[in-house]
Symmetry: C2
Subunit: 140 residues, 2 copies
């Protein structure tokens, strides 16, 4: 997972620096979504001495490579989810933060229908699903 990110960065032609390796490791060991602030806190807790700006810069880089996607939580804050660089949507557990990807579940048909009704040309869409994961639903 951390390897995967570093490979992608290498392929993108950026340098594999110490801070980037350490951050990749931190991200890899996270589960579910996390915010930039979470990462910054991790950095502080482990006294890695990595600056805030560097954290944001890596998040942006990984986003560009499609290895991380930024989602908008229901409360309006931003979070990141590690994921494959293919088009898909996210299912976020509101209780434990776990996320799962779901591929195309017929959303294409929905956007086509919306385009037909409105006359709009649709260029991008965002679908986010929130609920409870199997664990949290049953634990209840």
């Amino acid at each position: 997972m951390a390897e995967e990110m570093l490979d992608a960065l290498d392929r993108a032609g950026v340098r594999l620096t110490g801070p980037r390796r350490r951050l990749a490791a931190l991200i890899a060991r996270r589960e579910g979504h996390f915010t930039a602030a979470d990462l910054v806190k991790d950095v502080g807790r482990r006294r890695l001495g990595i600056g805030r700006a560097t954290v944001f810069r890596l998040l942006e880089l990984l986003g560009e490579q499609g290895l991380l996607e930024r989602i908008d939580l229901p409360d309006g804050s931003h979070a990141y989810i590690p994921c494959e660089p293919t088009h898909h949507h996210h299912l976020v557990c509101l209780e434990c933060g776990t996320t799962t990807d779901v591929g195309d579940c017929g959303i294409e048909a929905v956007t086509r229908e919306a385009a037909r009704r409105s006359g709009f040309t649709i260029e991008q869409h965002r679908l986010e699903l929130f609920g409870r994961c199997p664990n949290c639903s049953s634990a209840n």
Copy 2:
């Protein structure tokens, strides 16, 4: 439109104060989506002397009444759209900012399918469509 908002506020049992009336008028004359900052700027330009906090407070109130919905633009910033208080989704023109509502276009089926595949219990979803409105598409 401004009337509609004021009626709703009245029904909600809040006071119809001067600042609220003036803000409702400002919102009513806007087209498409707008940000809190846009409104604050309007207030400043017209020297209405309405505080920032009051603007945010009214946006929240109108949101609670379902007359305004907050959406997340692709760039991560927040905007508001005046709309009817029924469940629906938004189509946002990336060029001129116009928005249109689309009702249920089959999204229910999509969420059911995602729930089946993942085992999640889905509680809420957010679908936002971005593209170009008929005008902007033809103007090209």
